[in-house]
């Protein structure tokens, strides 16, 4: 997915962290947002891409965007419930 220009309400930096931390920190951070708000999560673990897709599928929170640049993955997630 290409950059959409959506402005996140919160940014979570998980660069340099390995599984399970990006997903754990994301699920913690998303609970601090209101429903409808958007979290941006940055990660360098290549496993974070399939993991975030799976996390989104399991939790129902919407993965709006996945973008990779220079080894950094940028995820935009909307809290749905």
């Amino acid at each position: 997915m290409a950059p959409s220009g959506i402005k996140p309400d919160q940014v979570l930096d998980c660069r340099g962290l390995l599984c399970p931390l990006p997903v754990i920190k994301t699920s913690k951070a998303i609970r601090s947002l209101a429903v409808g708000q958007v979290l941006e999560m940055l990660a360098t673990d290549p496993g974070s891409k399939p993991d975030m897709l799976a996390w989104s599928k399991q939790t129902g929170h919407e993965l709006l965007e996945v973008h990779e640049e220079d080894g950094v993955f940028r995820f935009l997630v909307r809290r749905t419930r």
């Binding site: 390995l18 754990i24 699920s27 996390w55 399991q58 939790t59 129902g60 419930r81």
Partner: protein
């Protein structure tokens, strides 16, 4: 969303390396909103033991995957070397360093995350009896339970794994 998924794990190993897989799976499942329970049995109960939890070791003996201190060397540590006095401490220190350098949480930190996220920590009642371990020896949140309790919990699990 359908009703919550459930993960039931058995943690049967009490070494530092084998402490990670069940705790990583448990904390990840909890992060996805699953209900999670881990049954800590036999040496796995060391992961809930206040004192032993702080002294988990990696054994280089009987561990053909044990790499040398420098990860890029194409050799493994032979059992006869791994069996020398002090080698388990060396292997343990090396693994702890790798984990630290990779920004991985310690086993105690992962256990804390598990507890905070509501993971049920079943302490095997039989192991407690056989090894003379009492409730006060265990970390907060550990629930003494037998196989029946765990199987009852596991009978409604979507994923069940023995580690």
């Amino acid at each position: 969303m359908k009703q919550k998924r459930r993960l039931a794990l058995v943690a049967s190993k009490g070494t530092l390396d084998m402490a990670y897989p069940p705790l990583i799976l448990a904390t990840t499942a909890a992060a996805m909103g699953w209900e999670v329970g881990i049954f800590f049995t036999f040496y796995g109960l060391d992961l809930l033991h206040r004192q032993r939890l702080k002294n988990l070791k990696v054994s280089p003996v009987g561990n053909p995957a044990m790499p040398p201190p420098v990860r890029s060397l194409p050799v493994k540590v032979p059992d006869i070397v791994g069996a020398l006095p002090g080698m388990p401490s060396v292997a343990t220190a090396i693994m702890k360093r790798w984990m630290r350098e990779s920004n991985m949480p310690t086993v105690e930190e992962l256990l804390e995350i598990a507890r905070e996220s509501g993971v049920k920590l079943f302490a095997c009642a039989t192991t407690m009896g056989v090894m003379g371990i009492h409730q006060e020896d265990l970390v907060d949140g550990a629930e003494c339970a037998g196989a029946t309790t765990f199987l009852d919990f596991a009978s409604e699990a979507d994923v069940t794994l023995f580690v």
